[in-house]
């Protein structure tokens, strides 16, 4: 399972990439493997406020719908529109082209509570 070193992770299997003062969010390789076959993604609206640890998006596979929790509190400043026509990007490139949304970092200290790659890898038994 791929657990990139430069990302931060949640216990609920989201990843965060911090760049230009924003947090880009997606689901981990481990999560997409568990979900398999993503067929629909429901993203937050641009400008929506999201709260850390609150449901912010929904990723649906053939068999089940899974809530995606915002790793940090902020305002949605970007959403991955490519997922509308190609939700399987979440499976094929979960840490890259399959990203979900980006938010402002309203409480940067929340990043300290997230897991490092090593901690997340240990949690999923890698």
């Amino acid at each position: 399972m791929n657990v990139p070193e430069d990302l931060k992770y949640t216990e609920t299997h989201e990843w965060v990439r911090v760049q230009d003062g924003q947090a880009r969010v997606g689901v981990t390789d481990h999560a997409q493997a568990e979900l398999t076959d993503v067929v629909y993604v429901e993203l937050p609206k641009m400008g929506a406020k999201v709260e850390a640890k609150a449901a912010a998006a929904i990723v649906e596979s053939v068999k089940a719908a899974g809530d995606i929790y915002a790793p940090v509190t902020g305002t949605v400043v970007a959403i991955n529109e490519a997922l509308e026509n190609n939700p399987a990007l979440v499976n094929t490139d979960p840490h890259g082209e399959g990203w979900l949304f980006a938010v402002t970092l309203d409480k940067p200290e929340e990043l300290d509570q997230l897991k490092s790659a090593a901690e997340y890898a240990a949690m999923i038994g890698e």
Binding site: T36, Y40, E84
Partner: protein, 346 residues
């Protein structure tokens, strides 16, 4: 892995979509050991079974099977099953895993002298080989030792590990075979099928693909689309009910419905355009009013669109009728379709 009728079973081996497409395009194999195998025999078996089941077992020649229902007195479905006439006065009932105990208890409670009921579900395992290449696999597997059974036929094959029953049946809408055998045969048969199927790109398939495949064909799933609250006539299954028989459990309720019409009907629907996947227990709306709950739903891997089934009031049970499905508080347009949702072109 999930619990399914007390069995620990995989939802998927590789991925539901990949498994689904393998069955539609080439070949897939399912472990169906969870299904129940109940043998009914004796001089009174035929007459008694005809009073327990909706279809007419008198129409069966040895080696043939039919789809049928076990009903309660109100005409509601206890279980749907296949009944095979194996040989004179000996029947095999293949029933749903989640209903084995209930079915056997019901049958025992109504048993008469001259009828023997043997529940061999625990000793039997089974596999379903499904897909356009299933006949080729059959030929490689049996190497001419037996000929292929015809559609809805069953044949007996005596292997070293015990008797293997081979039926030309399935739950996917594709051609294929279901094999029932004693558990000690299971590992060898499963591995041989995977090995011989490899050139065809065979995939082991889990419950997830089994569900998407059967739903595209509008085959009902007991516990979802069938229940004690609905009759086979409401489920659109009158072809498997012989009201010409003078007596069977549930007949009076069904005859009344035949006379006066059914209040609701199980219909398939298709979402219009891209929507979240419909799933079971979602609200169905017509003209702003809640008219039903979905009983099944998924994204059809073949059609690439949301599909499902629901019992709607008969006045709305028309092809092309516009309805709405409520998904997480939002309503999305759908239309009622004719069965099946997937039409084989081959």
């Amino acid at each position: 892995m999930v619990d399914f009728g007390g069995w620990h079973m995989p939802v998927q081996y590789g991925g539901i979509l990949e498994e689904h497409h393998a069955v539609r395009n080439t070949l897939g194999v399912f472990d169906i050991s969870h299904m129940g195998e109940v043998f009914v025999s004796g001089p009174e078996a035929k007459i008694w079974l005809n009073e327990m089941l909706t279809n007419n077992v008198e129409r069966l020649a040895p080696g043939e099977c039919q789809y049928t229902f076990l009903l309660n007195e109100q005409g509601g479905v206890i279980d749907d099953l296949l009944v095979y006439l194996l040989e004179d006065a000996r029947y095999l009932l293949v029933v749903n895993a989640s209903h084995i105990d209930e079915d056997v208890a019901w049958l025992e409670a109504h048993r008469v002298p001259g009828v023997t009921i043997e529940n061999h579900s625990d000793e039997f395992a089974g596999v379903a080989v499904q897909g356009p290449r299933a006949v080729q696999l059959f030929d490689h597997f049996f190497e001419g030792k037996i000929s292929r059974p015809a559609r809805n036929e069953i044949k007996r094959y005596d292997a070293d590990c015990g008797t293997v029953w081979i039926a030309r049946t399935g739950y996917t809408g594709e051609d294929g075979f279901e094999l029932f055998f004693h558990a000690p045969c299971a590992v060898n048969i499963w591995n041989t099928i995977l090995e011989l199927g490899e050139p065809f790109g065979i995939k082991p398939c889990g419950l997830g693909a089994r569900d998407t495949l059967r739903l595209e064909m509008c085959y009902p799933l007991n516990g979802s689309d069938l229940s004690p609250e609905h009759t086979p006539l409401e489920a659109g299954m009158s072809f498997f009910v012989d009201l010409g028989k003078p007596k069977f459990i549930g007949r009076a309720a069904l005859a009344e419905q035949r006379q006066n019409g059914v209040p609701r009907r199980l219909v398939p629907f298709k979402m219009k355009g891209k929507t979240p996947p419909p799933r079971s227990h979602y609200g169905v709306f017509k003209n702003g009013a809640l008219i039903a709950q979905t009983t099944s739903g998924t994204v059809s891997p073949t059609l690439g669109i949301g599909i499902g089934m629901a019992y709607v009031p008969t006045e709305f049970a028309r092809i092309d009728e516009e309805i709405e499905i409520e998904i997480r508080g939002r309503r999305f347009p759908a239309t009622i379709q004719k069965k099946p949702l997937h039409n084989k072109t081959a």
